[in-house]
């Protein structure tokens, strides 16, 4: 077996950027505080020193302009990695993402593809309150023309960027803020990973727990709780929210006949609703019970620790939902 190294989600992301920049000079990183500051979550720390201010490019607070500039640069032959500090601020650039990045190829009858990667932090859990805790990756998964990735493991943090940069079309990568400090081991030669398929992170036979991103850890904890109750839960990590891997989802549900979708987005109109609807459409007769959804309470996330914790999906709640499906 290949030797491994101790690392973190943050370092894995950084190494992925470093590799990409070394391999291809068309690649550059652009965003607020990616350079002198080292990245608001320290992902790009040290890269300025290696690659210089042209390729580790600090931008003004102008989300719409620098995301749009990334789109233009991609069309003109570069391979930009645009970092939007958090998904909350990406609303200011949403017009550019939907009306330009996602639409140009089709509007132009196939002439202008946009090989752009946009990275942003998503999610709650650090008491950052209502304007800094959104989970809007489900919204982006609604947009034709985009690919949406949600790395939840060190392997994916390390490997998804390279694959995304190889994609001829815009790819969004959502990094959950609670994952940056996650420690673990990674194969020393870890590299590009497939971004087309969901992954079973824990096999099981009684119920399928379907999740992604920052909720994977909590869902695995729930699986442990369920195991203690004698319930064998399978945990499916979607990895990619657009396009969804229907086959993997249905395959798991057909084996377990019970499903719980865990999603940090607000429940109404979340990606969990899409998954639930697809399961009904494609596997209704394999279900022994309605698909359950465990989502964030429909409230602008409050600062107070106990209120925020109560608003977010938690292992006990996930386990309870699984028990409900099992009746």
């Amino acid at each position: 077996m290949t030797d491994t190294l101790e690392t973190t989600y943050r370092e894995a992301l950084r190494e992925a950027i470093r590799d990409a920049m070394r391999a291809d000079d068309r690649v550059f990183l652009m965003g607020e505080d990616v350079g002198d500051y080292g990245g608001c979550f320290a992902v790009s720390l040290g890269l300025l020193e290696e690659f210089g201010p042209d390729r580790i490019r600090d931008t003004p607070l102008s989300e719409s302009a620098f995301v749009g500039a990334g789109i233009g640069a991609a069309i003109a032959g570069m391979r930009p990695i645009v970092e939007v500090m958090t998904v909350n601020f990406s609303l200011l650039a949403l017009d550019q993402i939907m009306n330009n990045a996602a639409s140009l190829l089709h509007m132009s009858g196939g002439q202008f593809n946009v090989p752009l990667v946009i990275r942003m932090t998503t999610g709650a859990g650090r008491q950052l309150a209502a304007q800094h805790s959104h989970s809007l990756e489900g919204w982006y998964a609604h947009i034709p023309g985009l690919r949406v990735l949600t790395p939840a493991t060190l392997e994916d943090a390390r490997g998804m960027l390279a694959t995304a940069l190889g994609d001829p079309d815009p790819v969004l990568i959502f990094e959950h803020g609670s994952l940056y400090a996650m420690k673990g081991t990674l194969a020393a030669d870890a590299g590009a990973v497939d971004i087309d398929h969901a992954a079973i992170r824990r096999p099981g036979t009684d119920v399928s727990l379907i999740t992604y991103g920052g909720s994977l850890g909590k869902t695995l904890e729930a699986a442990v709780l369920l195991d203690q109750d004698g319930v064998s839960a399978e945990v499916l990590d979607l990895r990619t929210l657009r396009p969804l891997d229907d086959e993997a989802i249905m395959d798991s549900v057909r084996r377990t006949h019970h499903a719980v979708v865990v999603d940090e987005g607000w429940r109404t109109g979340s990606i969990s609703a899409e998954i639930s609807a697809r399961i009904m459409e494609q596997a209704l007769y394999d279900l022994d019970a309605p698909v359950e959804r465990v989502c964030t309470a429909e409230v602008p996330l409050p600062y107070a620790k106990h209120l925020e914790a109560a608003a977010l999906p938690q292992p006990a709640g996930i386990a309870a939902a699984a028990h409900r499906t099992l009746g």
Partner: protein, 335 residues
């Protein structure tokens, strides 16, 4: 000044020919759009149709100053830019007809003309939405040491959008090769510029971002071309972005839906007296460079070209419905 420069430059064959080209371009745009207006009423063309009639000198003059490899980013009012840039009229007309032979394969229509081979990057229908894109094209050119210049067209109304501010600041901060061309036709749809901007001097506003900025008579194609030429030369020489406020006027309503209730008839009439095509014709006549005959032949020639384009568009195939989801992704991915 620079306009006079051209006008008084010792006339030679090349100059005469060049001015005839400008005239042909402006007249082609004018007649093409007049035809489009009729085709719209005949419901051959649908969606939104924004005519450029009266503003032809702007696209014609600026684009005449660009090189073949330069880039153009425009708005939903871009027929003139496409034709001036040399995009085939057949392809533009076919696009309006929603045909497969259209320059966007019928997917874009009047507001979204694209042509990679002519460096036309659209056709953007979100006001000011093309500005960050232009900044990005220029950023890539700078990073790849290309000496391409990107001309970015937008209106006076667009200058009120946040993206105007962000884009000018970014282009100036990063010293990017963009020529910002503000087509100031005094109205944003039905809203007069005085209701759009606390200070209506847009060139002055642009200058505060540290760009070279000038206001030019947008009804004088020679003045526009000269101003654009010096700006483009300076940009290509590495001088950073520049801004031109091109003062012009649309002779027609904002779009085919607009009943034009908000403009004073006298104002419209006054501007029509400054028709950019008549103005150039007058200069050429004064210099004895344009005969009745030449003018008649030019009109006939353009009329025939348009007729051919319409016939071709009528006859052109539609994109098969099975191809609806084509070009959503470069590879045929699902969702």
């Amino acid at each position: 000044m620079s306009a006079r420069h051209t006008a008084t430059r010792k006339r030679d064959g090349a100059l005469t020919e060049h001015r005839h080209d400008l005239l042909r371009t402006m007249l082609t745009i004018r007649r093409f759009e007049e035809a489009c207006a009729e085709l719209y009423s005949a419901t051959k063309i649908r969606g939104f149709l924004h005519l450029y009639v009266g503003e032809e000198a702007v696209a014609t003059g600026v684009i005449a100053a660009l090189g073949p490899d330069d880039a153009v980013v425009s708005t939903y009012r871009e027929h003139g830019h496409a034709l001036a840039r040399g995009v085939s009229m057949d392809a533009v007309m076919a696009e309006m007809f929603g045909r497969q032979t259209g320059c966007s394969r019928g997917r874009g229509g009047s507001m979204h003309l694209f042509d990679r081979s002519h460096g036309l990057f659209g056709g953007n229908a979100i006001v000011a939405g093309g500005m960050p894109l232009a900044v990005g094209l220029a950023l890539a050119d700078r990073m790849q040491d290309r000496d391409r210049v990107t001309a970015c067209f937008f209106g006076d109304g667009a200058a009120a959008e946040g993206e105007f501010h962000e884009s000018l600041n970014l282009a100036s901060l990063w010293h990017l090769p963009v020529l910002f061309c503000c087509e100031n036709n005094l109205y944003a749809m039905g809203t007069a510029i005085a209701k759009e901007h606390a200070r209506t001097n847009l060139a002055e506003r642009a200058a505060t971002y540290g760009l070279e900025a000038a206001a030019v008579d947008g009804m004088d194609v020679l003045a526009v071309e000269d101003a654009a030429r010096s700006a483009v030369d300076a940009i290509r020489a590495g001088g950073g972005p520049q801004f031109l406020e091109l003062d012009t006027y649309r002779f027609r309503a904002h779009s085919m839906y607009d009943s034009d209730r908000y403009r004073d008839r006298a104002e419209i009439a006054a501007w029509k007296k400054r028709d950019p095509i008549d103005a150039l014709v007058a200069v050429l006549r004064a210099d004895g460079d344009l005969t009745e005959k030449a003018m008649t032949e030019l009109e006939a020639d353009i009329a025939e070209q348009i007729a051919r384009a319409v016939t071709a568009a009528e006859a052109a195939p539609l994109e098969p419905v099975e191809d609806l989801t084509r070009f959503v992704y470069s590879r045929e991915a699902g969702s």
